[in-house]
């Protein structure tokens, strides 16, 4: 206890997530910006096929080489970022928002609302999440919209459980009691006093979930259930390049590296957020 006192009085600088948060965010922002200007940056058209230039290995002219149709892989990887990143962000954010709202309600109101939410959560958790996603997308038809619906249905449960647990603990704290005793309405207490203190953990979790959403999307596309041509997407690119992996590795490996890069950036962001939001 004494130690907590000693250390607790050290001033912890707030508002700084350290360099990790900045580096991660800059990486993602650069990638996104590059995707919009891909053609200008590389001087190639992502869709232009040139059968005379098939399978060129990486050179000064084609940094990432060309694919089986002679298209510039770097340009395509960059353009795909414009599809993958927004979908991955939404794929993490949509279930997070749904889960946080339902979880907060379930924790604060308890009663039948709480019970209903948690039974629904049990039901959904009975299915493996990959299977649930694939079945839903199969039923709804391939595409980005179906992916988002599928991701939201499966992934909100974790957030709901997480936030409900935190809210159950917070609602017993004195400052929440004090707010109630002072006659503040339930909506205000929930929105101003409970939820903001429950959010940090969910936000950190959602940040690391971006990678998971990205891998789900890539996996769907790989299976042919995700983004359809002429749309360009990393998982789809990997699938297309797979038959040539032995000799023309760059066709699959370059989009794979892009996914890893995003993974690293997201990890940095999540780690930075965690340090910043931790009290």
């Amino acid at each position: 206890m004494a130690l907590v006192q000693v250390l607790g009085r050290r001033r912890v600088r707030r508002g700084s997530g350290g360099p990790a948060l900045v580096i991660g965010a800059v990486l993602l922002a650069l990638l996104l910006a590059a995707s919009f200007a891909a053609g200008t940056l590389t001087g190639h058209d992502p869709a232009l096929t040139d059968l005379t230039a098939r399978f060129r290995p990486p050179t000064a002219q084609h940094w990432f080489g060309t694919d089986q149709l002679g298209r510039d892989v770097l340009t395509r990887v960059l353009v795909a970022a414009g599809t993958d990143l927004p979908l991955a962000l939404l794929g993490a954010a949509v279930p997070a928002v749904i889960g946080i709202v339902l979880g907060a309600l379930a924790g604060y109101a308890r009663g039948w609302i709480g019970t209903a939410v948690m039974r629904l959560a049990d039901l959904i958790q009975a299915f493996p999440s990959y299977i649930l996603l694939i079945v839903l997308v199969f039923l709804l038809g391939p595409g980005g919209g179906s992916f988002l619906v599928g991701a939201a249905v499966g992934a909100w449960v974790t957030y709901a459980r997480l936030v409900r647990g935190v809210v159950l603990r917070l609602r017993e704290l004195d400052y929440v009691r004090a707010a109630q005793a002072a006659g503040l309405g339930h909506t205000r207490v929930l929105l101003r006093h409970v939820l903001p203190n429950a959010l940090p953990q969910a936000v950190v979790y959602a940040a690391s979930d971006i990678v998971l959403a990205l891998s789900y999307l890539a996996a769907l596309s790989y299976l042919g259930l995700g983004i359809q041509a002429p749309g360009i997407e990393w998982g789809q690119m990997i699938a297309e390049g797979q038959p040539f992996l032995r000799n023309q590795w760059w066709v699959s490996v370059m989009p794979g590296l892009a996914i890893i890069l995003v993974g690293v950036a997201v990890r940095l962001i999540a780690g930075g957020l965690e340090r910043r939001l931790q009290r």
């Binding site: 109630q180 002072a182 006659g183 503040l184 006093h193 009290r279």
Partner: protein, 267 residues
């Protein structure tokens, strides 16, 4: 002392056991005249905190009622009644919203309950409140973890006073504080009681501390009030067996160390 009681606790029972065990609060009746402080002493688990929550309107009694100025206060309290009884909590580390600045903690209440017309006036009033509890405008933009335990507890008192309550409950409000800080907060509470003509219910496990701030003392044991009287009478001539053991166990600085005679007492 003959003034009509402002706060009346009327035969309150709090029973979590649904009739299977002894109730946490067992038919307790108390009354406090306006402007007076009633000290409630008891060990942890004696039911004093359950009683405090009922009086504050945070929990409904199993039976019985809380009256203010003669009229029964319903639970949950309506918006108008909610501000009439306020509470200062025990644990300075959880009593304030960690994300809110002191300014926000105080102005939120002032604005919601229309104790101030706008943000500016609310801030002015917040500074007044902070000065009242021995702090100043300097802490306005601090968050709880930038404050010491004693400062947090003072902000907690200012928050309770912001809505101009008629009754203030202090539930172990100084127990978590260091001795040297506790004294200053006790002085503030006593001083406020006199200046604002506050009616107070001061709850503590510490007999000496409670005696110091109270006009009247009630001793609670196993859910019941076992003794009640003027503080010095209770301490000097405890009538109930439990009170006697409490008085005997309260250390005195000038008192004896453990002696041979005490060794002989059964453990």
């Amino acid at each position: 002392m003959s003034a009509a009681p402002l706060l009346q606790v009327d035969d309150v029972v709090v029973d979590y056991s649904h009739g299977r065990g002894s109730p946490a609060v067992d038919h307790v009746s108390l009354d406090i005249p306006r402007g007076r402080t009633l000290g409630l002493v008891g060990q942890s688990g004696c039911g004093k905190s359950s009683l405090a929550r009922v009086v504050a309107g945070l929990a409904a009694p199993t039976s019985g009622a809380v009256r203010l100025g003669g009229a029964v206060l319903p639970t949950p309290r309506g918006r108008a009644d909610a501000t009439r009884i306020q509470m200062v909590f025990q644990d300075p580390s959880s009593a304030l919203n960690p994300m809110h600045t002191v300014r926000r903690t105080l102005t939120e209440l002032l604005l919601v309950h229309r104790r101030a017309p706008d943000r500016r006036a609310a801030t002015d009033r917040a500074v007044e409140l902070l000065e009242l509890v021995g702090l100043g405008a300097a802490v306005l933009d601090a968050r709880p973890r930038g404050l010491s335990g004693g400062q947090r507890q003072r902000v907690g008192i200012a928050r309770a006073l912001a809505v101009e309550p008629e009754v203030l409950i202090a539930d172990e409000a100084v127990s978590a504080l260091d001795v040297s800080v506790q004294a200053a907060v006790l002085n503030t509470l006593r001083d406020l009681g006199a200046r604002l003509d506050l009616t107070m219910l001061f709850i503590s496990h510490d007999l000496a501390v409670t005696r110091y701030v109270s006009d009247e003392l009630a001793v609670m044991h196993r859910g019941r009030i076992v003794e009640r009287g003027r503080p010095d009478d209770v301490l000097r001539h405890p009538r109930h067996e439990y009170t006697r053991s409490l008085v005997a166990a309260t250390p005195r600085m000038d008192g004896p160390a453990l002696s041979e005679a005490e060794e002989a007492r059964p453990l």
